[in-house]
C-alpha cells in the first residue's frame, strides 16, 4: 500500500542524473508559469503577454531538445529515466510521490508538443491580432501545453489522468473561446460531455488497475500485466480504449471533433490535429503491455481504428467547410494510428512515426486553412473560394506541400510513415491482417480524393468569392510557421523512417518486433505500396475531374444518398442519440415505471431514499429555539447514557 505512485525501483535516482533530465519538471513549469502570469496579471499583461507565452513555449522546447541530447548520450537500454519532482503528500506510513518519466516515447511527444506548439503560438500572434481577448487566448494555449506535457511525461496513470483532464479543460476553454457565438458554446459543451464518457472509462480502468496491481506506475503495471486474470486485463484494455476513443475522436465517440472546429483555427491546428487528439494513441502505445496481455482488446483497438479511418475519410469527402473537411481527415489519420497501435509491437513505432509527421503536415494544413480564412474574411465554405493560388502564393505552396505529404506522395513525410502502417497491417498476417491492410489502402485512396478536393476547390478553378472579398497573403508571423511546418512535412518522414532510425530509438519502450533490414527498394516495389500509389493517383484524378476541371457550383448540389450521409457525419449524432441518449431515457422511464408498479415501492432508488429521509430529517429543524434545546437535552442524555453504559460494561 505504501508506494502506489512510487518510482520504478530500478530507476536511478535523480541525484545521479544530469541536471537537464533531473529537472524535467521545468519543462512543464515554463508554460504553466506563463499561463499563471497571463491569467493573474490581467489587463496589465495585454501588451507583452503573447510574447511571454511564446518565450515560455520556446523555453520548454529548448529544454526538451537538451533532454533529447542527453538521452541520446546514454546507452539505449538506459534511456528510461525517472525524475523525482516532489513528494505529493505523506500521511502516516503512506507516501505519494510525483515522478516524471523521460524516455524515447515521452521525449518524442514533448518535442512535438513544444515544437509545433511554439510555431502555433507564433502564428497566433498574427491570427489573433484583432481579438481583444488575445492575452487570455495565449494563457489557455500555454495552459494546454503544460497539461499536455503532464500527460506525456507522467510516470503513472494517476498523473497521466491529471494531464488528461487538464488538456480536456484547455480544449473546452479554447473551443468555446468565442463564447459570443452560440455554436461555439454548444460545441464546447458537446466536447466536454462526450469526453466525460471517455474519461469515465479511463478512470474506471485506473481504479481497476489499482485494485488489481496495487500500483499505478507504468513499469510495475507493465511487469504485472501478464499475471492478471484474462477477464480483468481485457476489461482494463477495453476501458482504456474507451478513454482513448473519447480523446482521439474515434468511433463511437467521434462526434465532438467536427463541432470543435468552432474554436479559433490555431486551436484546431494544435489541439485538434497535432497533439491532444493523439493522446489516445499515446495511451494505447504506453499501455502496450496491457494490450499484449489482452489480445481481444487489442483486436478491438485495431477494428475501431480501421472503422474510424474509413468513416473519417468519407466524412471528409463531403464537407464544404474547409476546417470540417480537415477535421474528418484528422479523424481518419488518427484511425490509421489507432489501427497501427492495435497491431502490437510491429505497429507501435509506425503509429508514433505517423503521429509525428501527421502533427507537422496536419498542423501545416490547418494553419494554411487559417491563413485562407484570414484572407477571405473568415469564410469557411470552400465553394466560395477558388483560384487562390495566385493571391496567396506562400499559403498555396505550404498548403500544397502538406497536401502532398498527407496523400502519400512518394518521398514526402506522409508517404514514409503511412507506408509503414500499411506494411505493418499486412504483416500482421491472417484474415485480420488482410482486412486491416485493405482498409488502410482504401483509406489512402479516399485520402487522396478528399484532400485533392480541398486543394482544387480552394486554390484552383475559378474565383467564386463573395462580394467585397479581397484575398491577400497573411503577415510574416503567420507564414513563417507555415513554412517551417511545410519543411517538416517534406523531410521529417525520411529522417525518421530511413534505416528504421525512429523505430530503433523507440525500441527500449515499445519493444522490438522481428523486422527485416530496411530496404528502400522493397518499400517502393512491394505490392501494397504500388497499390497504394495507384489508388492515390486514381483519387487525385477523380477529384481533378470533379473539382479541378469542372465548374464547382456555389451552393452544394443535392447529391446522392452517400454524400448526404457523409455530410451529416454519417449520422453520428443521430446514432449517438439513438444508441445512447434515447435508450438511456427509455431505460430511466422503464426503471421508474418498474419502480412504481412492479416493486410497489419496496425498492426505491438510493437517491430518492436519501431525498425522502432528507425531507424527513429536515422536520427536526423547526426554527424554534425551544425544540433545539430539547434536541440538545436528548443528545446529552444519549451521550451520558453511552458513557455510563460503557463505563459499567
Amino acid at each position: 500500500m505504501t508506494e502506489i505512485l512510487a518510482a520504478e525501483p530500478h530507476a536511478v535516482t535523480a541525484a545521479a542524473e544530469g541536471a537537464i533530465l533531473a529537472n524535467a519538471w521545468l519543462l512543464i513549469a515554463f508554460p504553466l508559469a506563463g499561463a499563471a502570469i497571463l491569467l493573474l496579471g490581467g489587463r496589465r499583461t495585454n501588451g507583452w503577454g503573447h510574447w511571454l507565452a511564446i518565450a515560455m513555449s520556446l523555453a520548454g522546447f529548448a529544454w526538451a531538445v537538451l533532454a533529447l541530447v542527453q538521452l541520446l548520450g546514454l546507452a539505449p537500454q538506459e534511456r528510461s529515466r525517472s525524475a523525482h519532482v516532489y513528494e505529493w503528500f505523506s500521511v502516516g506510513a503512506f507516501t505519494v510521490d510525483v515522478n516524471l518519466l523521460i524516455d524515447p516515447l515521452s521525449i518524442t511527444f514533448a518535442l512535438l508538443i513544444t515544437g509545433v506548439g511554439s510555431l502555433i503560438h507564433i502564428y497566433s500572434v498574427g491570427y489573433m491580432a484583432h481579438d481583444e481577448n488575445r492575452r487570455r487566448f495565449f494563457a489557455y494555449l500555454n495552459l494546454f501545453v503544460a497539461a499536455m506535457l503532464v500527460l506525456v511525461l507522467a510516470d503513472n496513470y494517476a498523473l497521466l489522468f491529471l494531464g488528461w483532464e487538464g488538456v480536456g479543460l484547455a480544449s473546452y476553454l479554447l473551443i468555446g473561446f468565442w463564447q459570443h457565438k452560440p455554436s461555439a458554446a454548444v460545441a464546447a459543451k458537446k466536447a466536454f460531455l462526450i469526453n466525460r464518457v471517455g474519461d469515465m472509462g479511463l478512470l474506471i480502468a485506473i481504479m481497476l488497475m489499482f485494485a488489481t496491481f496495487g500500483t499505478l506506475s507504468f513499469a510495475p503495471v507493465a511487469e504485472a500485466a501478464g499475471d492478471a486474470g484474462r477477464g480483468v486485463i481485457t476489461a482494463i484494455g477495453l476501458l482504456l480504449l474507451l478513454g482513448a476513443c473519447g480523446k482521439s475522436a474515434q468511433l463511437p465517440l467521434q462526434a465532438w471533433l467536427l463541432d470543435a472546429m468552432e474554436g479559433p483555427t490555431p486551436v484546431s491546428a494544435l489541439i485538434h490535429a497535432a497533439t491532444m487528439v493523439t493522446a489516445g494513441v499515446y495511451l494505447i502505445v504506453r499501455s502496450g503491455p496491457i494490450f499484449e496481455a489482452a489480445p481481444y482488446a487489442q483486436l478491438v483497438v485495431a477494428a475501431v481504428g480501421a472503422a474510424t479511418l474509413l468513416a473519417g475519410a468519407i466524412i471528409g469527402c463531403a464537407k464544404d467547410d474547409i476546417k470540417k473537411a480537415l477535421a474528418g481527415s484528422t479523424m481518419s489519420q488518427i484511425g490509421y494510428m489507432t489501427l497501427a497501435a492495435g497491431l502490437g509491437p510491429i505497429g507501435y513505432a509506425a503509429a508514433i512515426a505517423h503521429l509525428v509527421t501527421h502533427g507537422f503536415f496536419k498542423a501545416g494544413l490547418f494553419l494554411g486553412a487559417g491563413s485562407v480564412m484570414h484572407g477571405m474574411n473568415d469564410q469557411v465554405d470552400m465553394r466560395r473560394y477558388g483560384a487562390l493560388r495566385k493571391a496567396m502564393p506562400i499559403t498555396f505552396a505550404t498548403f500544397g506541400l502538406g497536401y502532398l505529404a498527407i496523400i502519400g506522395f512518394p518521398f514526402l513525410s506522409g508517404w514514409w510513415t503511412k507506408e509503414g502502417i500499411i506494411e505493418a497491417a499486412f504483416a500482421f498476417g491472417g484474415v485480420t491482417g488482410q482486412i486491416l491492410g485493405w482498409a488502410t489502402l482504401i483509406g489512402a485512396g479516399l485520402t487522396a480524393f478528399y484532400m485533392s478536393r480541398v486543394m482544387f476547390m480552394t486554390f484552383f478553378g475559378t474565383a467564386r468569392w463573395d462580394d467585397g472579398v479581397h484575398p491577400h497573403e497573411s503577415p510574416k508571423s503567420m507564414t513563417v510557421p507555415m513554412i517551417v511546418l511545410a519543411l517538416g512535412s517534406v523531410f521529417l518522414g525520411a529522417i525518421l523512417v530511413f534505416g528504421y532510425r525512429f523505430a530503433h530509438f523507440l525500441e527500449p519502450v515499445v519493444g522490438a518486433p522481428e523486422h527485416h533490414e530496411f530496404s528502400l527498394a522493397h518499400m517502393l516495389t512491394s505490392w501494397p505500396s504500388l497499390t497504394a500509389l495507384a489508388l492515390m493517383v486514381a483519387g487525385v484524378a477523380f477529384a481533378w475531374a470533379r473539382y479541378g476541371r469542372a465548374e464547382v457550383p456555389r451552393t452544394a448540389p443535392a447529391g446522392n444518398p452517400i454524400t448526404v450521409a457523409a455530410r451529416n457525419e454519417l449520422y453520428g449524432n443521430a446514432l449517438n442519440e439513438a444508441l445512447f441518449m434515447r435508450p438511456g431515457q427509455r431505460l430511466t422511464a422503464a426503471a421508474v415505471a418498474f419502480d412504481d408498479t412492479a416493486v410497489d415501492g419496496v425498492v426505491r432508488g438510493v437517491a430518492e431514499g436519501v431525498r425522502q429521509s432528507s425531507q424527513g430529517l429536515r422536520q427536526t429543524q423547526t426554527g424554534f429555539a425551544r425544540s433545539y434545546a430539547l434536541t440538545m437535552v436528548f443528545g446529552a442524555a444519549v451521550v451520558v447514557a453511552t458513557m455510563l453504559g460503557v463505563g459499567v460494561a
Binding site: Y86, E87, W88, F89, S90, V91, G92, F94, L162, Q179, K189, A607, V610, R611, S613, S614, Q615, L617, R618, T620, Q621, G623, A625, S627, Y628, A629, T631, M632, F634, G635, A636, V638, V639, V640, T642, M643, L644, V646, G647
Partner: protein, 550 residues
Amino acid sequence: MNHAAYSALETTLAAPVITQGPPDIDYGLLSPMLVIFAAGVLGVLAEAFVPRARRRVTQLVLALGAVLLAFVLTVSLVGALPADGAGIVVAFATVAVDRPTLFLQGTILVLALASLLLIAEHGQEESSFAAQAAAVPGSEEEREHVLAGSQHTEVYPLVLFALLGMLLFPAANDFLTMFIALEVMSLPLYLLCGLARRRRLFSQEAAVKYFLLGAFSSAFFLFGIALVYGYAGSVNFADVAEAVAGGGAGVIANGEPLLLAGIALAGVGLLFKVGAVPFHNWKPDVYQGAPTPITALMASCTLVAAFGALLRVFYVPFGGSVWEWRPMMWVVAILTMVAAAVIAVTQRDIKRLLAYSSVVHAGFILTAVIAASPEGLAGAMFYLAAYGFTTVGAFAVVTLVRSREGGGEAGDLTQWAGLGRTSPVLAGALGLFLLAFAGIPLTSGFIGKFAVFEAAVAAGATPLVVIGVLSSAVTAFFYVRIIVLMFFAEPAEEGPRVLRPGGPTGVVIAVGVAATVFLGVYPGPVLDTMLPQPAEAEVAGEAPTDMFAR
C-alpha cells in the same frame, strides 16, 4: 462533632494566608493574545474619543495591524519552544504554549485577517452591517440612520475580543480558563450575529437563538467541569490526566461515574461549539441569519478554536479514558456525518447549505479525534486549516452575489443558475471551493480527508471511515449539483446582480483559491514541517498525547 472535624473546618474557614511570592508570568509567550486584547481595548477607546468620521479607518488599522502583529509574534514563538518536550505551560499552568497551540493560533489569526477584510468591505455597496442595530427594523429611526450613513465601528473591537477568546480556547490548560475563553469568544459573537443590515429580524432571531442555546451548552460544560473536579480534585489538565490515569484523586470513593458523566457533559459543551449532531441545530439558522462576513468568521476561526479545545480536552485530561469516551464519539461522529449530509441534500439556500456542509466536515474531523493518535491530531489540524481557507473563500463569494430586488444576498440556489456564463471567474472560484469540500484530488480537501481517514483506519476505526466515505459521496452529490447548476443551466430570468469584488473581497477569494490549490498540490510544507511531527514523538518513545504540553 469530633476534634478532627473541627480542626478541618477551622482550616477551611480561617482567612487563607498567602505564602507564595508574586507569580512569574512569561508575558512573551502570551504576547499574541495580549496584543489582540490591547488592540480591542484601544478600539473601545477609539470609539470613545476618535471623531465619527475617522473611526472606521482607525479601527481598521488597529484591528488589521494587531492581527498581523499577533501572527508575526506567533510565528516567532515557534522558535522559543523548548527543543525537548512538547511545550511550556505558563501563568500558573493555566495556558499551554506548544506546537498545536501555535499552529492553531496562527491559523486562526490568518483566517481572522481574511474575515476582517470581508467585514471591512465597503466597496460599491454599503457594508453587511446594520446602520443602527438598536433601531427597530423598518422604523423611521432606522431609515434616518441609513440615510445618515451611520455605521457600527464597534464591530472591530468586538471581533478582536472574540478573537482573543478563540486564541485562548485551544491554548487553555485548565477547565476554568477554557470556560472563560469560551465565554469571551461567544459573547461578542452573539452580538455580532444580530447586526445584519438586511432581513434584520431574521438576524436578530439568529442572535437570540445562538445566545440561548450557547448559554444552555455552557451550562452543560460547566456542570461537566464540576463533576470532573469532584473526581479529580483539580481543574488543571495535567492533574486531571494524572487522576484519570491513577483511578481518581480519592476525593470520593468509587468516583468513576462522576468522571464518565463529567466527560459526557463537558463533551456536550464542546460538541455544541463545533456543531456536531445532535447539537448542531443552531448552525444553519445562525449561519444564515448572521451577516455573511461574521458567518465566515464563525465557520472558519470559531470552528478551528473549538476543535482545538476539543482535541486538547479529549487528548490530555481525558486521554487516559479513551476507551470510555470512544464509543460515545463514534455515535456522535456517525450521527453527524450521516444526518447532516442527508439533510443538506434538500437545502435550497446557499448559506444553509454551507452550514450543513460545515456540520458534515465537523463529523469528518471527529473521526480524527476518535483516532486519539498523533496522526489524528496532525490530520485534524491540517483539515481545520484547509477547511478554514476554503470556507472563508466560499462565503466571500456569497457576499458578492446579490438578488435584483433589495440588493440583499441571493441566497436561493435557483438564482445561481448560469452564473458560470455571466461571471465565469467567480463561479470558477466557488466551483473550486465546492470541489475542495467534496474532497476531489489536488484540492486541499482531498489531502485533509485522506489524513483524517488514514489516521482513523490506523486506529482501527475502519467502519467509521466507510461511513465517512459514503457520507462524502452524498455531499459530493450536492456540491457537484451546484457546479452543474452554475455552469450548465440557463441563467435565471431575473438573475442575480454580481458585484465586482472590491479589493478586500478579491484578496480573500484569491487567498482562498491559492490556499485550496496549494495545500492540495503541495501540502508537504504544512503537513510535514509546520504540524507537530508524530513520527518523532513515536521515535522518542513518548506517549501519543505528548504533542501537547502538560
